[in-house]
Symmetry: C2
Subunit: 459 residues, 2 copies
């Protein structure tokens, strides 16, 4: 972009922000350091941090920022793995954690109305208390905000059955650059009047406006669930089993896979229950009523007869024991190096075996190990590489591997990202056609004529 | 819009179209009369009809139409009830029925790749032969095209469990005004790179471009289903029962309701099995595996103990007998008058009883009967009014009722349309905020700078 952004704030600017946000504005370098980065560990330049408590404050701020041509970087809980919250251009970080209320959970309408800063796991828990279910379930849901989930269209463990965040956003309120408050959709489960700009915000990576309120669709809470962790002699055998499950007409709510390297790092960092002939794991979950889950579980088990080993869990406590292995992967990965480049490529479901095999070959050719796991049912591969940044050769080979993995995902007809978004780290131009990319940017300009919002991020 | 459109075609224009489309272009007044209208029975002015057989032809046509400022009205099978296919401005109708191939159904990737003209029911049948399921199920699916479903974001009978057409569009190819061919998304079930302009086409009512290819998500075909038709002494009792079903954690794949007027017209036009103490019906369907459906059915039945009467059906043949009553409603309605104004308002689920009651009062106050039925689980009310257009007083009262119903839907926080779209009949300005409407039009201009595509329709 050709814009020039303010690289520092004058006293007048600071007075304006202080007057508007009071204690919710900070210029303290200690504080700003926190807001300069996110879970990607990339670092940018923060001129100020502001924390609005209501939409009116945000409207006044966005009117000012647009007029002053100050770059604005909205932020939820900063869990982006693709640098979505990093101020790539010096600017003001807007923390939405001052707007984190659950405004309403309606048993009659099956909707939740929330502010964007609310924690995902908290919202899920509150819905479940009332017998309702908010299905989007990013693996990091305990840490994330719902606003962050919406702006990246977060997927998660249950997407194979329940879809992604997009499928649960009914209504949305946002403040645009220039300070206008707009509302799209509402609390009807269906609405096809007008162009669907509300859902265009979902996955827009903060490029169109700052979300201030969300109306989310809920469904009845399934009564029961069961999980099974299944071991195979090879990834090929594991993914062949998954194919049989889908072919048998079973739609599990989660299908996770782990490759041999994942099993190695889990074994190195703790006790594991599977024999060492197991080289790949699948983890399934089915849900439904108390009566139907045992039957679904039995149907599923029948398709898993090629397994070397299995461990079943019925009900939350037993299931959590199985899921704990999956949840340990990310932390355990650090035995392969203190620094990480993460991937979350998606490929067509039928190509997942070939894609993971190809990824493993690419890593091996560069002297690296591929930590391959993720949402097999969606073709969504977490392809992580660990390295030591203080070793320039290792760092170079890791970067090279990462780029080659991206290229390979595209060769399989896939996407550079199934969940994390482009952020400031993905080379989205590799994937998007030139015409299509230009259209995206032109639409962005309709919302943000001066390009103040999240410059350098998304697309 | 301020555009001036061509109101007639020169010989040069006709030669161009004839040269490009050969037999696929028509200027015959007899033929054009068919393309001047759709299921709304409104009539517009058609200058020519063209039927492209491939995207290249369509690109050349759209380049020409843009340069010549000729209005273009794309059309599938013409089943729009809101006048979405009617040329409100004199123009060329583009019939997409020349591109109606199923290009691929992949058991590995769980996707179907189709041209837009393919019939919805045919696609569903072909998927089911392979053990897969394309859930979007507009009640008129036997007549509609998938392209038409996509461009209106069709809902249908199974939306309460399976969502709407939007939720099944993974990738899309379209020709824009000016003749550019663009592609968004692909065959990955997940993809969050770039702004989601592909899904923005879904429900865009042909305002952004003409879709030439679709990649659709499929799921495993449920093995079995069961339906139950349940009679109550009042709509209040019926909808209270529906509330108990959802509260019990049951998510049926369909929940239809019919009000007293619907029961009357069904009784007048054929045999009905329910006693005349029944004044309202609910029709539920549950699906799943052969083992689980009987259990789900039993769970459902337990919540329906307030019913006066019920009739169960297990398996397609028995279920079809129950669904036949629901399918007869539209035709039976004509006993109340030879002309119709249809409504498909949506309200928040918890307001459906109050909304239907209010609709009935509004109709009665205008001396009309409300034919009220539809997708209760989505809060989507088909609110039809029949009248005799040759009776000016009846026509006036019917129009007045229709407008008052629209206003009432909005008062309940609802939408003027849950399925049919704005077309050329809905006063979308009643629902859309001024700022929001202006943004929609500005985005439309990004795709269609000269406003040649479907002018006067949508929003």
């Amino acid at each position: 972009m050709s814009e020039e952004y303010k690289t520092s704030l004058t006293d007048e600017h600071k007075n304006f922000l202080q007057g508007l946000f009071k204690d919710g504005a900070s210029f303290d370098p200690e504080v700003l350091r926190v807001y300069a980065s996110d879970a990607s560990l990339r670092v940018g330049t923060v001129l100020a941090m502001v924390r609005p408590e209501n939409a009116d404050q945000l409207c006044a701020f966005m009117r000012w920022a647009d007029a002053e041509r100050v770059a604005v970087h909205p932020r939820g809980r900063g869990t982006s793995l693709s640098g979505g919250c990093v101020p790539t251009v010096p600017g003001i970080v807007v923390s939405m954690l001052g707007m984190d209320r659950i405004l309403e959970i309606s048993k009659e309408d099956f909707v939740a109305v929330v502010e964007p800063g609310v924690n995902t796991a908290l919202l899920q828990a509150e819905c479940e208390k009332l017998g309702m279910f908010y299905p989007p379930d990013p693996a990091s849901g305990k840490a994330t905000s719902v606003g962050g989930n919406v702006i990246t269209c977060a997927g998660g463990l249950r997407a194979v059955k329940y879809g992604v965040t997009r499928d649960y956003v009914l209504g949305l309120e946002a403040v645009l650059p220039g300070g206008k408050l707009v509302r799209f959709g509402g609390r009807s489960h269906k609405d096809v009047i007008g162009l669907d700009l509300g859902r265009l915000f979902v996955g827009s990576e903060g490029s169109l406006g700052i979300v201030t309120k969300l109306t989310l669709k809920l469904i009845p809470k399934p009564e029961a669930s069961a999980s099974v962790l299944v071991g195979y002699p090879s990834l090929d055998a594991a993914l062949a089993s998954m194919g049989k499950v889908f072919a048998a007409g079973i739609l599990p709510c989660a299908v996770e896979f782990m490759n041999e390297t994942v099993l190695e790092i889990l074994t190195k960092t703790g006790e594991v229950p599977w024999p060492d002939t197991v080289k790949s794991l699948l983890l399934f979950q089915v849900d439904g009523s108390r009566d139907t889950v045992p039957l679904e579980n039995a149907r599923l088990s029948k398709q898993l007869d090629d397994a070397l080993w299995r461990m079943e869990g019925v009900g939350k406590e037993e299931e959590d024991r199985l899921w704990a292995y999956r949840r340990r992967v990310s932390a355990a990965s650090y035995v392969l190096g203190p620094d990480r480049i993460g991937g979350d490529m998606a490929v067509p479901r039928g190509s997942i075996l070939k894609a993971v095999r190809r990824f493993e070959e690419i890593a091996a050719a560069n002297g690296k190990r591929l930590i391959g796991f993720g949402h097999a049912g969606d073709g969504n591969i977490h392809a992580n590489l660990h390295y030591d940044a203080s070793d320039p050769d290792d760092a170079r080979r890791t970067q090279k591997t990462h780029h080659e993995l991206d290229d390979a995902a595209l060769e399989f007809g896939g996407s550079l990202s199934g969940e994390h978004g482009g952020g400031c780290l993905k080379d989205v131009g590799k994937q998007l056609g030139q015409e299509e990319h230009a259209l995206m940017r032109a639409v962005r300009r309709v919302f943000d004529p001066h390009g103040i919002l999240n410059p350098g991020k998304g697309y």
